[in-house]
């Protein structure tokens, strides 16, 4: 694998999160995301995976431990595409730079570039209602990449997509990762998705969540989609599933 061009890191050290309601979502979670890492987090539902991401993004603050982010730009892809219904695809992508006061011409050009990158050329002026679920998620990813993030956080972005679209989106996200070289933290409940996309898979226990296994994935990027049928791939997903089963 080529050396990463970015230096973004994310370090969680002994992080715990207790909500005001008294619910303990996370206890003593430590993880390190190195430059060029693409790390997936799998765990039973309700184990605090999403909370982990919200802490990393700064949307929530940890009640114990520390979260250290060294990144010039962080982006966040939501579970739901979270597009503004009254804006066209292009204007949705433009939003991020609009909020930063980038000139209209510049942000238009940039939005076009991003939409071309995610394969939505020709759909710039369509409103979200006119797009399929997969296309909406592409717009969402284009929006996340518009500010050239060196750290990208993904909160189960493909969870609501059908299997075929999902596999396709995984392949395309990996292409973007190889091309853009951001460090990625990817939440998912799909073990094969985690293994296919990542160089490390973290397994979390049930609530209160903590990291119980850190499994390295050996294959170089870009990975061929047929890797999923490789016996070694099956062995690795089996190991992740086993770790999940032991701690849920």
């Amino acid at each position: 694998m080529t050396a990463p061009t970015t230096t973004a890191t994310l370090v969680l050290d002994g992080v715990g999160k207790r909500f005001a309601t008294g619910t303990v979502a996370l206890t003593d979670v430590s993880l390190r995301l190195n430059p060029g890492d693409f790390v997936s987090v799998v765990g039973p539902s309700g184990c605090g995976k999403s909370t982990l991401l919200r802490l990393a993004s700064g949307l929530e603050t940890a009640t114990s431990g520390s979260v250290t982010v060294t990144a010039t730009a962080t982006s966040y892809v939501f579970q739901d595409p979270t597009l503004l219904e009254w804006r066209s695809a292009a204007r949705n992508v433009e939003l991020v730079q609009e909020l930063r006061g980038v000139s209209r011409a510049d942000r238009r050009a940039r939005a076009q570039e991003m939409l071309d990158l995610v394969g939505l050329t020709g759909f710039e002026r369509q409103h979200p209602r006119a797009l399929s679920g997969g296309m909406r998620m592409r717009v969402s990813i284009a929006r996340a990449l518009v500010a050239e993030p060196d750290l990208a956080l993904f909160d189960e972005p493909f969870g609501a997509l059908d299997e075929i679209t999902r596999l396709q989106m995984q392949t395309e996200l990996q292409k973007l990762f190889v091309l853009k070289q951001f460090a990625g933290l990817f939440i998912t409940h799909s073990v094969s998705e985690a293994v296919y996309l990542s160089n490390r898979v973290l397994v979390m226990s049930g609530r209160p969540g903590r990291v119980v296994a850190d499994i390295a994935v050996p294959w170089d990027y870009p990975r061929d989609p047929t890797l999923r049928y490789d016996p070694e791939f099956a062995t690795l997903t089996g190991r992740v599933s086993q770790a999940l089963g032991e701690h849920s």
Binding site: S57, Y76, E85, L95, L99, R100, R125, H127
Partner: protein, 289 residues
């Protein structure tokens, strides 16, 4: 013989002919017919019942209580001494409704925006919105009269009081309709409060605001008539005339004025319902830009 003749006919301006409608849409005249026919049938049905009551149900000695439509409208509209003041009064009431609705819209949106932006503003302003809605307007009418006089301004005030609540409640609901994730998106991109309002909350509220406007339009008409009815100083509105005709038991002008009032309400409401459909349809991109 020389005649100067243009060698070419002037080209029609590009927008002279409407663009071809999208394939799935029926031609405009067909949708218009489809919408109009039920309305015409309903009007004919009402006229039929009216004739039935006048000629069959009422004995001739009591027919003056409900003269048949042609007589009621004919007598009132053919006499300029009746019809001219009636249309003038109707126009004044329309004006009251339009001005009242405009004020209610501005006040309602402003009020809701304040409530949505600051929770202390919500705590202070929300009870008054509820009071506005629950106090019977008739209880406020004498006060309005005492404070604002008994003419135009007071009528507009009644109109605003009746129409403002749906503007407040719909706008407020709309401003809060953006999803938590959309708010997170704004937070992550360090949007200022004003950016959040302008780019997320306000656009998200547009459909609800237009729904509120539709309801408020119907209420503004009621407010204008009620205002006329109670505040009789100055030039009369159609509501004042209703009262005058009732006192004189002049049935033909009374029935005509009631019909005109009903027509006014229907047209006003329909206009805003059409505006609602047009704007909100375009808002979500159903109509291509």
């Amino acid at each position: 013989m020389t005649t100067t003749r243009p060698t070419e006919l002037p080209a029609a301006p590009p927008d002279a002919t409407p663009d071809a409608a999208p394939e799935e849409r029926a031609p405009w005249w067909r949708t218009t017919v489809a919408r109009t026919v039920p309305i015409v049938l309903a009007v004919l049905g009402i006229a039929a019942i009216w004739y039935l009551l006048s000629y069959v149900v009422l004995p001739p000695s009591q027919r003056f209580l409900l003269p048949p439509p042609h007589q009621a409208f004919g007598v009132a509209l053919s006499n300029p001494n009746i019809s001219v003041p009636m249309f003038e009064a109707l126009w004044r009431s329309i004006l009251v409704a339009i001005i009242g609705l405009a004020i209610a819209t501005v006040v309602g949106i402003g009020w809701a925006t304040l409530m949505a932006q600051w929770s202390w503003a919500e705590k202070i302003l929300y009870p008054y919105a509820v009071i506005l809605q629950t106090i019977p307007i008739l209880a406020l009418v004498p006060l309005i009269g005492i404070w604002m006089g008994y003419s135009f301004a007071a009528r507009v005030a009644v109109c605003v009081l009746i129409a403002v609540f749906p503007m407040i409640s719909n706008t407020f609901f709309g401003l809060q309709s953006a999803s938590q994730a959309a708010h997170d998106l704004m937070t992550l991109n360090r949007a200022t409060r004003f950016q959040r309002l302008r780019k997320l909350e306000f656009p998200a509220a547009v459909p609800a605001i237009f729904t509120g406007l539709r309801t408020a339009a119907g209420l503004a008409v009621i407010g204008a008539i009620v205002g006329d009815f109670f505040f009789q100083q100055g030039a009369p509105g159609i509501g004042s005339l209703l009262r005058v005709y009732t006192q004189r038991l002049s049935m033909e002008p009374l029935l005509t004025a009631v019909a005109l009032t009903a027509l006014f309400g229907v047209v006003f409401f329909t206009a805003f319902a059409a505006l609602d459909r047009a704007v909100v349809g375009r808002w979500y991109g159903r109509t291509a830009r």
